[in-house]
């Protein structure tokens, strides 16, 4: 990275990211909080995991490690992936 910080591009704040995740799983945005668990979101099943992976790749260019995929148990885990990849700025 030549010592330069990775640009936050595209960039969201946490509220926008929560709305994006809600839309991905066809959930009411009011119902999706950071602490919402995967099992509370019906569409986040095995097919939903593929949807999430494809969306992270398409929108943010983020590819996960296999360990990260199985470790995602809550909305906060998705937010953490976005933060780690510098896609959330507040």
């Amino acid at each position: 990275m030549n010592g330069m910080a990775m640009a936050c591009q595209p960039c969201m704040n946490t509220a926008e990211a929560l709305r994006w995740i809600a839309g991905l799983f066809e959930q009411d945005p009011e119902q999706v909080k950071a602490e919402t668990l995967r099992e509370e979101i019906p569409a986040w099943d095995s097919l939903g995991v593929l949807t999430l992976m494809a969306a992270l790749d398409k929108k943010f260019g983020v590819l996960l490690g296999n360990g990260e995929i199985s470790a995602m148990k809550s909305v906060n885990d998705v937010l953490e992936v976005l933060r780690k990849n510098n896609k959330i700025n507040g």
């Binding site: 095995s46 996960l64 296999n66």
Partner: protein, 351 residues
């Protein structure tokens, strides 16, 4: 590895084959509720599949295809110098399925016949091996047979695979052609055994010969890890092959993807900057038939073949192993494409 090439071979004919029994996911699936089936059908894109009963093995499917190819080309069995059988669902652990088919086709004892244990990536590997053999002396005509019966190792209660798989076989007739006449075929071949457990039949082999848990005789798939593998590997496979060959995307008539799952193929197409009309699809009609989906898509993917001009095809194959490979080759305008169905009750090995 570096991308490699051969310059010795021509495709004369390809025949694909499927069992005649047809399964309509929306009408015939009873193991899952309707909404669940509709969701899987919508995402994976599999509406119908052709499925083998207990009497049909991959050898039966490939035998029917091979007989069709020999008849179409009027090739006498004794003129075949090599038979490469690519499968992950062999008739037996031993002998090799290639030898079973060798006998059924009445090939000569001067024919080299052997199996290659690869699945979804197998067609590119099989064609590469044939092309390599034809570069040396002694070989003139080779049959590459690629068949699998994944429905026979899919647990019908496993939603990840039960609605996805179909069965298919194929025979590709490849003939030696002088370097002045043959075009270059480019291949890029890869493996990553760290994902070997992401798509596995854990029981029945010599690691666990007679498992108490009968589900170990069926395939276990970590769909997320497999998808992750394709996201990381397939775009690079495509780009590296084209770069090595010095060929632009625009020069490719069709990108023949392993028909893994419509959602995955669409995403890969988008990621690789390809338009869907460049990607023939057969998954809706035949399901994911493993590696044989590639020759099946060449014969049944409604390729537009202008008279007098061959097609440039980039085959992109990837899956179990993990293993992935490309083949950039030409399909001559004279090459004959055909498709046959195999009736249930066809047990050619005991015929």
């Amino acid at each position: 590895m570096a991308v490699t090439f051969t310059q010795a071979a021509t495709i004369r004919a390809i025949t694909s084959s499927v069992p005649s029994r047809r399964f309509d996911n929306l009408k015939d699936a009873t193991n899952f509720d309707k909404d669940e089936v509709e969701k899987v059908v919508r995402m994976a894109g599999v509406k119908t599949r052709h499925t083998a009963d207990d009497s049909i093995c991959c050898s039966d499917l490939c035998l029917a295809a091979a007989k069709d190819v020999l008849k179409t080309l009027d090739w006498a069995p004794e003129t075949i110098d090599g038979l490469i059988m690519v499968t992950q669902s062999p008739d037996y652990f031993l002998p090799s399925t290639a030898c079973v088919v060798h006998q059924q086709l009445g090939l000569s004892d001067g024919c080299a016949a052997f199996d290659v244990g690869l699945g979804c990536s197998g067609y590119a590997y099989g064609v590469w091996l044939a092309a390599m053999m034809l570069q040396g002396p002694g070989f003139r005509r080779i049959l590459v047979l690629h068949g699998d019966t994944p429905t026979r190792f899919a647990r019908q209660s496993d939603r990840a695979v039960a609605l996805l798989f179909g069965d298919a076989g194929s025979a590709t007739a490849i003939e030696k052609s002088g370097p002045d006449k043959a075009s270059k075929w480019w291949f890029s071949l890869h493996s990553d055994g760290t994902g070997s457990r992401d798509l596995i039949i854990p029981g029945g082999g010599f690691r666990d010969r007679f498992p108490e848990d009968q589900t170990k005789h069926f395939v276990h798939m970590n769909g997320a890890n497999i998808f992750n593998f394709t996201l990381k590997r397939v775009p690079a496979l495509l780009n590296d092959t084209l770069a090595a060959a010095g060929v632009a995307k625009e020069a490719i008539d069709y990108f023949i993807f392993h028909q893994s799952n419509l959602f995955i193929m669409r995403h890969l197409a988008n990621k690789c900057g390809l338009a869907m009309p460049q990607i023939p699809l057969t998954i809706e009609e035949f399901g994911s038939t493993g590696g044989p989906s590639v020759p099946l898509t060449i014969t049944r993917g409604k390729l537009n073949r202008p008279a007098g001009r061959g097609l440039q095809l980039l085959l992109l194959t990837y899956g179990v192993g993990l293993s992935w490979a490309s083949a950039l080759l030409d399909l001559p305008s004279e090459a004959i494409l055909n498709h046959v169905e195999v009736a249930a009750g066809t047990d050619s090995a005991s015929a």
